[in-house]
């Protein structure tokens, strides 16, 4: 007879379930931080699909996050499409953008891909600011985004929004776990570690990488929708290049390809600065030093991917 064994999965499920109770334990500002944590965690996990798992240096990931947010904002405020209906569209459009933008770039290696994605990010922000067709609201962005409703129930309170974010984070975590255990997810890792060896096993690099970009973008699009809902407003400044840099750093600091690592990275890069608000203007000076220290002491990230078993 085996007793109850607390493996990573069960521990994760337990933590997630405990997280559902956060609104009862925290005041609403911390609930909103938890909600943003869930949203950024989804975005960081989506970056991890491209950067951590497929090994492609994507430093423009805020683009897909932004596309998701804008799709929801535009559809909801101009055509009154219910929020939850905009969600699949946001994912789909972000995925299409990911696939289209990456297709010509996949043959670029390492640093050159990084620069090209930075370029996309700059172009995206400028495009939103220039208000093409009058639909993005220019630099003001779009305000007055509605709240999602589920079975006629308006998810208006911060707690309700948190639960929505948390449940979707849970689903994304499930998808990430499934990704680890399916042929597509493994193909990404083969390509990252050794493209030549992978190709001799029959992995179609071009197809798999494009798909990785599409999946990463789709999940970022999902997070974008949640972001737009949480803020009830979107503007170009939320999707600038420095946001992409933060996402990039979250994955590396946490541990590439590691779900707990990326979650911890998100917590460190996003939640910890909230705790240290008291440091005021010293905050990001200290934070910069901490980033160097973490990398020097743990170059593989804080919780690197375990060499997993069968």
């Amino acid at each position: 007879m085996r007793g109850f064994k607390l493996d990573g999965l069960k521990l994760g499920a337990l933590l997630w379930a405990a997280g559902l109770a956060l609104p009862f334990a925290l005041d609403s500002s911390w609930v909103s931080i938890a909600a943003f944590f869930a949203i950024y965690a989804i975005t960081a996990l989506s970056e991890d699909v491209i950067l951590g798992r497929a090994g492609m240096f994507d430093m423009g990931h805020a683009v897909y996050f932004g596309i998701g947010a804008y799709v929801t904002a535009i559809l909801n405020t101009t055509l009154n499409v219910p929020i939850l209906l905009t969600l699949p569209l946001a994912m789909l459009l972000a995925a299409a953008a990911g696939a289209l933008l990456s297709a010509p770039l996949i043959r670029l290696r390492g640093d050159y891909l990084l620069v090209a994605t930075i370029g996309f990010n700059a172009i995206f922000v400028l495009a939103m600011q220039n208000n093409p067709g009058g639909i993005t609201g220019g630099s003001d962005g779009i305000t007055g985004i509605g709240v999602p409703s589920l079975f006629g129930l308006q998810l208006e309170s911060q707690s309700a929004m948190f639960w929505l974010d948390w449940v979707l984070l849970g689903l994304v975590l499930l998808v990430m776990r499934n990704l680890d255990a399916c042929e597509f997810g493994r193909a990404l890792r083969y390509l990252k570690q050794d493209e030549l060896a992978a190709s001799t096993l029959g992995v179609d690099a071009r197809k798999v990488k494009t798909l990785a970009f599409a999946l990463g973008a789709a999940l970022a699009g999902l997070a974008g929708t949640l972001f737009a809902v949480q803020l009830s407003t979107v503007s170009p400044s939320s999707f600038v290049f420095t946001e992409s840099v933060t996402l990039f750093a979250i994955v590396i600091v946490g541990g590439q390809g590691s779900i707990p690592g990326v979650l911890l990275g998100t917590a460190l890069m996003f939640v910890v600065p909230q705790i240290f608000r008291g440091l005021a203007e010293y905050r990001y000076f200290v934070f910069g030093i901490a980033m160097i220290a973490v990398m020097v002491l743990r170059p593989q990230g804080l919780l690197p991917r375990r060499r997993s078993a069968a």
């Binding site: 399916c182 597509f184 001799t200 069968a310």
Partner: protein, 260 residues
């Protein structure tokens, strides 16, 4: 005997240097063919052309009579043509099981979305492929280290893992690029048995190897190249006594005769 793989006059140059020149040979179904030659003779380049890493500048490569010259590596793999690497290229962050499971990539029929949703069909397939992987691990005596990180194992075991990964793709032909490199004597001796075992399951083998003990003992047919050209072809006994081969390996005596 039917020809499985035919090289017909292939050649390639790098920066003005003719690395492989007008090379032709045939690998028949069920054979073990050794491809040998001194260091830098162009053997690995030949492999890279067969497996689609390089595109030959001239000549044709045929697979069961069909022209596959210049096809991409992933497409070559779908034909059932697999290879190992001279310097082992295992996936460093993965266990032995995961590495061998990687060989089953093309056998997986699941779509990516089935995988992300963990649909029953996908899970069934995963279970089947896991079983296939375990089967191969058992055959190559790797069951005991299935969960060990592959690159933490002794070199000889890593060689076997790479072989197992190759076999997991259920290949028709495998190209072994110096499988004995870095092995100790006992491992080297065991390698012969492994190669015969693979051949006995119906897999054709093209072997590049420096350890002549291995090459001479296992090969049905040996092709010798030097400077990218074929200098001899035949069975082990003929090759060992071929003056051109000896000269290629031990160097030439230009001004005096040395009795060997």
């Amino acid at each position: 005997m039917t020809a499985l793989l035919e090289l017909d006059g292939i050649g390639i140059s790098f920066g003005g240097l003719r690395a492989v020149d007008d090379l032709s040979f045939t690998v028949n179904q069920g054979q073990i063919v050794g491809l040998i030659g001194p260091n830098g003779a162009g053997k690995t380049t030949v492999f890279n052309m067969i497996t689609g890493v390089y595109k030959p500048a001239s000549g044709t490569i045929r697979w069961q009579g069909n022209d596959i010259t210049g096809a991409k590596p992933a497409r070559i793999a779908t034909l059932g043509l697999r290879r190992t690497f001279q310097t082992i290229r295992l996936f460093a962050d993965m266990s032995v099981f995961e590495n061998v499971r990687a060989g089953c990539h093309l056998a997986a029929r699941q779509h990516w979305w089935q995988g992300l949703l963990a649909l029953p069909a996908q899970r069934r397939e995963e279970a089947e492929l896991a079983a296939r992987t375990h089967d191969i691990l058992r055959r190559l005596d790797l069951e005991g280290v299935a969960d060990t990180p592959a690159t933490s194992l002794p070199y000889g075991v890593q060689r076997r893992v790479e072989l197992a990964r190759t076999l997991a793709g259920q290949p028709r032909l495998i190209i072994l690029d110096e499988p004995a490199a870095g092995l100790n004597d006992a491992e080297s001796a065991a390698l012969n048995d492994t190669i015969f075992m693979i051949r006995d399951t119906g897999v054709t083998i093209l072997l590049v190897e420096h350890d002549m003990n291995v090459v001479m003992q296992v090969s049905d047919h040996i092709v010798v190249i030097n400077f990218g050209r074929k200098i001899a072809e035949g069975n082990a006994t003929a090759i060992r006594t071929n003056p051109a081969v000896i000269e290629a390996y031990l160097g030439r005596d230009d001004d005096e005769a040395t009795a060997a």
